[in-house]
């Protein structure tokens, strides 16, 4: 495959290793796509084609799975993904205010990525830390009860360094 050459060659090589390792699992598609997204940061059509041909699946099936699940993205994501929780507990405790502050601080709307590719602002329905509502997650770090803009900016700054 042509794509395995060039600057992405290394990434494809890693993906190939992952696929070889998981190939013998029963029904490995979702697990493979998850790893692929880890490697590439997102799932462009070329990557989906690569996965489809390696696993011997129709591309339509791979595409169908990618578009069904919220977790998969077909557009590039920022280095840090900010997920503001919009679950019920957070809704009651003012998740909309967190979103508004985030949008203002980052200068992007929900679902967008900042120009410097540092942050993608998105939302998630409950991360299971409801007693700390309102909650947001950056990468794997959870932040709760952020009630002022100063605190929020301080947190964002940590990731800006």
């Amino acid at each position: 495959m042509g794509v395995t050459a060039g600057k992405d060659g290394l990434l494809y090589k890693r993906l190939k290793e992952v696929i070889d390792e998981k190939k013998n699992l029963q029904d490995p598609l979702i697990e493979v796509l998850r790893e692929a997204q880890d490697i590439f940061g997102f799932l462009p059509i070329e990557v989906q084609e690569f996965v489809a041909s390696e696993l011997g699946l129709p591309i339509a099936e791979v595409y169908g799975v990618v578009t069904f699940y919220n977790f998969f993205s077909m557009v590039p994501q920022g280095k840090h993904i900010i997920n503001v929780c919009t679950g019920t507990a957070c809704y009651v405790k003012g998740a909309d205010r967190i979103i508004k502050m985030m949008e203002e601080e980052l200068g992007v709307k929900l679902g967008e990525t900042t120009k410097d590719n540092l942050f993608t602002l998105s939302s998630v329905r409950c991360v299971g830390a409801c007693s700390l509502a309102p909650v947001f997650v950056i990468g794997e770090d959870t932040y709760g009860r952020v009630d002022s803009r100063t605190k929020l900016v301080a947190i964002l700054d940590k990731y800006r360094q």
Binding site: T88, C130, T142
Partner: protein, 613 residues
């Protein structure tokens, strides 16, 4: 186990970790070393202890002292006082009035709780199988494998009266029987850890805090039903839970507790983890099975039920995390013991995630049949910040909102269902009187609408239509007959949808229509939202008496609709106002007020707003 003088159980559940418990641990290690106590004091990282609101929390044994809201800055004093001088540090203990509560058992939050599934959560290190075994873990499995036939095992669960904790409340023993009796092999056990209800975190806490218990429950289920392979389906948002279960499986394998010929018997069982990828509908069992098969998680009509034709067309048992978590204890303590708790149709205990405007938010486990009032006021400590109770939401997007008048109703499957709510997975969200119920209904509907898989028309199109109507009501553009249309659509969607998502999605709307109809009517007829939540049905005004003329609001207004001077004070021109709320936030003297009703109306009839005081 350790021979240390003292054990410090430090809660490392998700709540406490976000509140900083790992930093507390670091500081503890450093300070204990400084005092040369490292070998005497054992710090154990446990799963969620429950009172997340007090986080980070810790318990010190053998004394049994409970400390709350411990910060790294507190640690030097804590170590000096408690561990060097042997004096509990009152400042960090829970106080009632001016009395310090020394024992965990006396804390009101714990008094009415009975821990079964959460028995070990907060007591043991979830990453060590030795600790689970030390408190009786895997004993039930050993006894069952060597002394009970699969049918005996099924009968234990049947007699216990345990019902599914994942929402449906289906009798667990009966489901096991179906899978046991079904033809086909291999059979599978699937643990449903998708926990989609936004506002619930008990499955997460159990998986993180006591993973071996869930694994043991799964193996017992496997033995009883004749399954040889298990899958944990855990949502991607719970990375720690995924790691902990993987670790538990690995350790069990090292101990020969999972794999071939377990404990020298004929029984062979293996388990693996599959992760969800962010789709609520995948919590539905047939969709979940599709997702494990690596496909789009779309439900299929039932019957056939998974018990007969599930994963890879073979008989499959799908049980919730908490359901499986109850199993080992039921085997150890007996069906009668379990059935002795709760009421007639709902036996045992249930874990609830208590959140919202309640004082003690957190994870609680109470006997079935206690009242909502006991749950919210005794365990939960009542309303937070002196707010006024308005509603309690149970059952997430499939459930409903109940009111003050229901507070004395018992929490059990039937009662709640008849009232239009449900036990559901166990999310309990308490709402104060600043919540607009029309907006709450819209919130849930929006959730279900977004999460609809789109396979069946009533759910895909019907929910959208309901949402359009709710949206226009909140915009102040509601039309005559909207309420009736919502009811008609809701009933139709319930009856005609393919899976449980659509069949229950109208519930939040229908239940608020039932108990808060006046709020809908107020939005429709008076064009007013008394909680000032719906922006088109409220407006901002500046109280001239309070205004000090500092002009901060005018400077922060994005559309320059605030004018005035130090002498004249400031006023908001209602027409151009976009209701961003900046003025409300920045006013140093709280002169900017939110008032219900549309602005034009107040101009015509200035006494209108006083109707809602």
């Amino acid at each position: 186990m350790s021979i240390n003088r003292t054990d410090v159980l430090l809660c490392c559940g998700s709540g406490c970790v976000s509140a900083g418990s790992l930093k507390v641990k670091e500081k503890m290690v450093e300070q204990l070393a400084k005092h040369g106590l490292t070998d005497e004091i054992n710090i154990i990282e446990t799963g969620c202890m429950g009172p997340c609101d007090y986080g980070p929390v810790m318990m010190v044994y053998p004394e049994g002292v409970f400390y709350k809201k411990v910060t790294p800055e507190d640690v030097p004093e804590l170590v000096e006082e408690h561990f060097v001088k042997g004096r509990p540090l009152h400042r960090l203990m829970i106080q009632e009035g001016n009395k310090v509560i020394a024992n965990k058992e006396d804390i009101p939050f714990y008094k009415k709780q009975v821990k079964v599934a959460l028995e070990n959560c907060g007591y043991i290190n979830p990453e060590k199988i030795e600790e689970y075994i030390a408190v009786g873990g895997y004993e039930a499995l050993g006894v069952a494998l060597t002394e009970k036939t699969p049918q005996d095992a099924i009968d234990v669960i049947k007699n216990s009266g345990l019902r599914g904790r994942g929402g449906g409340g289906f009798p667990t023993g009966l489901k096991w029987q179906f899978v046991h009796d079904a033809e086909g092999s291999p059979k599978y056990v699937v643990c449903n850890g998708d926990e989609g209800d936004p506002g619930a975190f008990m499955d997460r806490s159990l998986l993180e805090g006591d993973p071996h218990r869930v694994l043991e429950g799964m193996m017992l289920a496997g033995y009883a039903t004749g399954a040889s392979e298990g899958f944990f389906y855990i949502r991607a948002e719970y990375p720690l839970a995924i790691r902990r279960i993987r670790n538990a499986i690995k350790q069990a394998r090292e101990y020969g507790l999972i794999g071939k010929n377990i404990m020298g018997t004929e029984f062979c069982f293996d388990a693996e983890v599959r992760t969800g990828a962010g789709a609520f509908v995948c919590g539905e069992e047939t969709a979940l099975i599709k997702s494990i098969e690596g496909r789009r998680g779309q439900p299929i009509p039932k019957p056939p039920f998974p018990a007969n034709r599930g994963l890879r067309e073979n008989p499959t048992l799908v049980n919730n995390v908490e359901t499986l978590g109850n199993i080992p204890t039921i085997f150890r303590k007996g069906a009668e013991w379990f059935a002795g708790m709760g009421i007639e149709t709902s036996r045992g205990t249930k874990v609830f995630a208590l959140t919202g405007d309640v004082k003690n938010t957190g994870l609680v486990e109470v006997p079935m049949g206690i009242t909502l009032r006991e749950l919210i006021y005794d365990v939960g400590g009542g309303m937070a910040d002196g707010k006024k109770f308005k509603a309690v939401q149970l059952g997430g997007p499939s459930g409903g909102c109940l009111t003050e008048q229901h507070l004395d109703c018992s929490i059990d499957y039937e009662t709640l269902k008849n009232l239009g709510a449900m036990v559901g997975s166990g999310g309990v969200i308490v709402m104060a009187d600043n919540n607009c119920m029309v907006n709450v209904a819209k919130f849930f509907l929006e959730f279900s609408m977004e999460e609809s898989c789109g396979k069946c028309t009533p759910c895909r199109v019907g929910l959208k239509m309901m949402h359009t109507i709710l949206d226009r009501i909140c915009q102040g553009k509601g039309q005559e007959g909207d309420v009736e249309e919502l009811e008609r659509l809701g009933e139709t969607i319930k009856q005609t949808s393919l899976c449980g998502l659509g069949q229950t999605a109208p519930n939040p709307v229908l239940s608020t229509l039932r108990y808060f109809r006046h709020e809908y009517e107020e939005h429709l007829e008076k064009k007013s939202c008394s909680t000032c939540t719906c922006l088109n049905l409220m407006h901002f005004e500046i109280d001239k008496e309070k205004c000090i003329g500092c002009s901060l609001c005018a400077r922060k207004c994005p559309v320059s609709c605030i004018t005035g001077s130090r002498e004249e004070k400031f006023t908001i021109a209602q027409d151009p106002c976009v209701k961003c709320g900046n003025c409300f936030e920045v006013c140093p003297v709280k002169a900017v007020q939110k008032l219900p009703g549309m602005a034009e109306l107040t101009a015509v009839n200035s006494s209108f707003s006083s109707l809602y005081e």
